[in-house]
Symmetry: C2
Subunit: 483 residues, 2 copies
């Protein structure tokens, strides 16, 4: 028996909260006189009303939430938010079809940042703010998920690396998960505020600053400018964005340790070291060829390289230079970056470094196991031993991820798109990045896809955002048969 | 201490045997008066001489061969055969550079079948026969490896599925590995003879028949015609080739059971069922679009589809129709087939179905494990339980394989080739198939690559042929430090 009533109650609470987050857009609409307050008010009211009805219909029930309800709650939350989140686009007429509205909303909530709008600067301000807000909600949602819910559900094998592992350690982030979530939320909010201020200091209007700050902290990538951050052509803004994308891609527990001065704990995180190391390595090695190809001075070449590397690795998708313009080899390198993902427990999508780390370390150990077949050769991450069950789970995750990438690319290419465009669209949607290669390169958009492909790509965004298993398990008989 | 002398003795014996296999080419050279007997005689003599010297220098030593010598013997064998195997090309002047000669020889010995000769019909007959012979030697070598050597080395996690697993079962193929190897060799030789006869009945000359039969049984793909088997445009030859490619891609133990009437044992092989099922499924589903795209009648469309599917899945690479001519979606589907590989214990290269099967079955079970975290959920193949260690090993193999594919593609694309060509060349070389996509499609050849890329692609062929770990382990400190 699945406790649907318990799910209904939580969905009600979620929709009420969700509707409140539509209000700031109404404010901006009035302030700028952009005339799009009505669609936002109607959408918010609808969401609030359904939320109230759901919540109070099931208010009295007090069944426990178990794992199975957990999976359904996570998937249903994202679906419901996508449904109510697309209403402003449809009611305002900015999205001219349901598939467009679905794509843009899911792209926002999953912090992907791929867009069907060729000219975002023409969008009314209230809608534009709502668009950035979907990023920010999605980023917040994923922090709550990774800290409070995924560890309980055992999704993706990284539950142990996301929050502090339970057990008799005295220096845990905080014993109670609710308190932990609150702290992470303060970090998320605080960093967004600081980022907004810095963007304003860099010359953005308050509106552009807050929009870009929300997109950066959510590792989303929606911009209020058609040319993304290339519009500003400002070293200060570029480096600010690099810093905040980097932070948004860091495990928030590690940021907490950093803020409270526990640098030894920061340095104990193998994932953080791999993440930082990879960014620096790619930035330095790619600066050389990009310096020659672009003809820019060394600082600009390095900044462009670092920006694009951080933007793709953190799955943000802001753009200051077209990384597909140099050569096919460099395009392929940047395409590879779509498969990295930043840290678990951050707002980044994609595979995550902890999984790559587990794969690389285990591969190396496999050779030791071949040469010494009787030796016990354990895999360690962050100094802790990782069980065989989790190694298997992580490697299985990686293979399923790649299989979905391949299958998805075949499906998109069978819809009539060329192979590179199919690879690019699927990789960037599944990894929640934004820009891809082929016809969905960094200066392109997704408007030209047919409705089926748009909905299918939206599904891939959700699949990637919820770490595959959360959604896929709903398609197995084990889930529905379990007691 | 590595027992280098024991390795030397075995290498000596190998080279003597290898040199004898150059003789038939001399015969064809004389018969056709093609004038290329001198290069073959010199090459054969050199190989024989070095073999004799090595063998008798170390004839008296009787150290045991252990695992570590095993790895070195396997890799060194393929390297030595590649070295002496390329002499005929160089001495005859048919290959105009060392990188060309390396590529063609390694492509032959690894049963890949990618070629740098744009016009094979102009090659002298002795050299042409030697070219097919390298396939046949490679196929034979891999049968010996998978039956007799890999199970002892524990390579790739499939050792249990290749030969009969050791243990107290009464119906083993044969208790002694030497006897087993002999039987498999009779099957290999017998099928080659039958295939030659059938090709002759289909209208080929004896020379063309034996060359194509050797290439088919080795799942190689070198043809004596520029347009491969499309030259004959014969349903009889096509179906004959399909049958023998299919058999060559089957686990030879399963063929043995089939020949001795033990069909229940054939049917017990999950890999054989998956292999057969996948071929039929792809052939049937792809026939429909190819029927419409090609404009051929249904029989021809089905035959072309089945032929190309079997040719790619078995990693042979014979061609009767250009599978990249239809649409980008179908091209991508055929490209995917490059990653299947046929059965373990066959002459096919690539990943092998048993590994895909382990991945798919385990993925499905992972969901059961998520829903029932405390349950013991074992993976079974062929009715036998597969240990967690082997599952990890197999999934790690798959991930390393894909990582090498990606890294290899980046390297080739950085040499200045477009992305699809890079993907195609690396996938087809690593998988020992032959044709790829992009500029190395089924009607193209590898002549245009620069020397570095040719040598690098040759290295990938060896890496794929020897199941990655055999070669890679030599690059780890564990191997050289072990006692």
């Amino acid at each position: 028996m699945i406790h649907y009533k318990a799910i209904g109650k939580i969905m009600g609470a979620l929709l009420m909260l969700f509707s409140l987050l539509m209000l700031p857009g109404v404010g901006f609409s009035f302030y700028y006189g952009s005339g799009d307050h009505i669609p936002l008010i109607i959408s918010g009211s609808a969401s609030f009303l359904i939320g109230v009805i759901l919540f109070f219909s099931f208010a009295k029930q007090d069944k426990n939430i178990r794992k199975r309800e957990g999976y359904l709650i996570v998937t249903t939350s994202w679906l419901l938010m996508s449904f109510f989140g697309m209403l402003p686009y449809l009611l305002s007429g900015t999205a001219t079809s349901i598939s467009d509205a679905i794509f843009e909303t899911v792209s926002g909530l999953t912090t992907t940042g791929a867009s069907i709008f060729p000219d975002v600067e023409s969008l009314p301000k209230g809608i534009l703010f709502w668009r950035s807000m979907t990023h920010w909600i999605g980023g917040l949602g994923i922090i709550v998920l990774t800290v409070a819910i995924f560890p309980l559900l055992g999704i993706g094998g990284i539950e142990l690396f996301v929050a502090e592992s339970p057990g008799p350690t005295s220096d845990k982030l905080h014993p109670r998960i609710r308190e932990t979530a609150k702290r992470l939320w303060y970090i998320y909010l605080g960093l967004t505020v600081v980022c907004t201020i810095l963007f304003e200091l860099g010359g953005m209007t308050f509106f552009d600053a807050i929009n870009h700050a929300m997109a950066a902290m959510a590792t989303g990538g929606f911009s209020t400018k058609n040319t993304s951050l290339a519009f500003y052509d400002s070293a200060f803004i570029d480096y600010t964005a690099i810093l905040f994308m980097f932070l948004a891609g860091t495990n928030f527990t590690v940021i907490y340790f950093g803020l409270t001065g526990k640098f030894d704990r920061v340095w104990k995180s193998d994932e953080f070291k791999a993440y930082t190391g990879a960014i620096l390595a790619f930035a330095f090695f790619l600066t050389v060829p990009i310096y020659f190809y672009s003809g820019h001075d060394l600082e600009k070449a390095f900044r462009d390289t670092l920006f694009q590397v951080v933007s793709l690795i953190t799955t943000t998708g802001f753009i200051t230079a077209d990384y597909t313009q140099y050569s096919s080899g460099l395009t392929l390198v940047f395409f590879m970056l779509l498969f990295l993902g930043a840290c678990a427990g951050s707002t980044a999508g994609g595979i995550k470094f902890v999984r790559h780390l587990a794969f690389f370390k285990n591969s190396w150990l496999e050779f030791k196991r071949i040469v010494h077949p009787r030796a016990v050769v354990p895999l360690k991450i962050n100094g802790d031993r990782v069980t065989g069950k989790i190694i298997t789970h992580i490697m299985n995750f990686l293979l399923i991820y790649l299989m979905i990438f391949v299958t998805g690319s075949v499906i998109i290419s069978l819809m009539g798109y060329d192979i590179l465009t199919s690879f690019g669209a699927v990789a960037t949607c599944l990894g929640n990045v934004g820009p891809g290669i082929g016809k969905v390169g960094p200066v392109d958009n997704f408007a030209f896809f047919d409705p089926f492909s748009k909905v299918f790509l939206s599904f891939l965004m959700l699949l990637g955002r919820l770490e595959l298993f959360t959604i896929l398990v709903l398609f197995t008989p084990y889930f529905w048969r379990a007691n």
